[in-house]
Symmetry: C2
Subunit: 249 residues, 2 copies
DNA sequence: AGCGCCCCTTGACACTGATCAAGTGGAACG
DNA sequence: CGTTCCACTTGATCAGTGTCAAGGGGCGCT
């Protein structure tokens, strides 16, 4: 299916400055750094990181049921995770932006419980889970980071779980995207929706038509400007206010 | 508020059979046992377990915002976790039966992100988290168990997150309760709903009236028999079938 | 026993959002 | 340059569920 060579290459373990920058999106580097920049530990960490990609739009990173071996940090692009029910209806579990981790929900079953697909050009850092777990027994900073990341994800369901209105869900979704982009140094007020309206709908448990209508209403009231997939938050404060119930700000 | 003496007492570290049975509901004992029943390790584990309780109905175990120090396994009774929004509306995050762990979602923030309250007489095993994390660096079985438990909880949101009908949600809820009771050796077809209709509603994101109506409909069609809070699954197979979309069986 | 409280049930109605259906517009392609 | 396809938009209708209102019944309290 893919003609692009996607040979995983082991990253050289040299811990020069360049190598560190290169891995800055990987969640664990910071754990090491927080821990006092121990060269030996950084060395151990980096040799078990594998940079993979690029995956092209529509290309799958893993599929439901495949044996679990690694978690991965997104370096570039957007990843969508989803499951499909018998009737072919898709439930989107999440979108993962640069710096975020996929595969954490696979640990408990040793199999991926969902599919992961690239929504645009995607590059990853793969971490062999058995190896990083072993390393975590020797480097408490890594273990803590893993515990924290896992625990964070437990609480993430709030956007979906509440009985919120379509407008609350969608505004909260946009605010969340904005914050996540901002946290990675991208613009908080102007970014691309890398996912289709249908994807958003399947994520927020709405109909695609409803997503479309709410976006229009938000645009008409001057809160956002949306041109195809390009989004501008023209009144971020008001947007946050509309989402306040969901975000419990 | 409470007149009942609830002095936490450190459990004696003697790893005699009695002590082990006493702790059989604690999730970590099994991790140790799986790991080859190493007496020294069991010793280490047990001295950091604190048995607390009894908590009486309505008594809080922890409250939102309190500093996080420990996770806890339910030994007896039912615990409800919830948050309250500005308008006073309650969102129930989960019910925890004997053998299940509360507090896992507090790890990432070092504070409890929700309230936990006893729905009936509750007894707990408290595990100091810093201590168990330290122990985990030396006992891989413990670390794996922790990772697995955390990862499991990430996927647990499915019941709430899907856009399912009231009937699907409620039947799935009942099936889940049944399975959880069965897993702990209780009857799978006859048990008490320790939570109020309102609690169930706030958990499933339904109105209490809807819960009431669906229960009645299920009873009228012969799937369950419900008398106040006593529930009998008269046709478990059909109940599971009604819940099949949610449970993805 | 009797009272009152609270949980639960039942009914009537309104409203949000899904569904069905049709139409628009951009992008890729021949 | 026209065709086709697909994502998206817009409109009309309808069903499921929330809301409001009233009533029932167990349980603890005095």
């Amino acid at each position: 299916m893919s003609a692009v060579p996607r040979t995983p290459r082991r990253v050289a373990a040299a811990d020069d400055g360049d190598e560190l920058r290169f891995c800055s999106t990987c969640a664990f580097s910071s754990a090491c750094l927080d821990n006092g920049y121990d060269k030996a530990k950084l060395h151990e960490l980096h040799i078990l990181v594998e940079h993979t990609g690029p995956y092209r739009e529509g290309e799958h990173i893993f599929r439901e049921g495949e044996p679990f071996g690694a978690i991965a940090a997104v370096r570039a692009g957007t990843v969508k995770t989803y499951v499909t029910d018998r009737d072919g209806r898709e439930t989107v579990l999440g979108f993962f932006l640069p710096g975020e981790l996929i595969g954490l929900n696979a640990i408990s079953q040793d199999r991926y419980p969902c599919n992961a697909v690239a929504l645009d050009g995607v590059a990853l850092c793969r971490f062999s889970f058995p190896m990083i777990a072993t390393l975590a027994t020797r480097v408490p900073g890594i273990q803590q980071q893993l515990f924290r990341l896992l625990s964070e994800d437990i609480g993430k369901a709030s956007l979906l779980s509440g009985d919120y209105s379509a407008e609350e869900r969608l505004t909260a979704f946009l605010v969340t995207l904005s914050r996540r982009y901002a946290a990675r140094g991208f613009s908080a007020t102007r970014f691309n929706l890398t996912m289709s309206r249908t994807d958003i709908a399947n994520y927020l448990r709405l109909a695609a038509e409803t997503v479309s209508r709410v976006l229009r209403r938000l645009q008409d009231s001057g809160v956002i400007a949306v041109e195809r997939r390009e989004l501008t938050l023209t009144d971020p404060a008001r947007l946050e206010d509309l989402a306040r119930h969901v975000l419990r700000a």
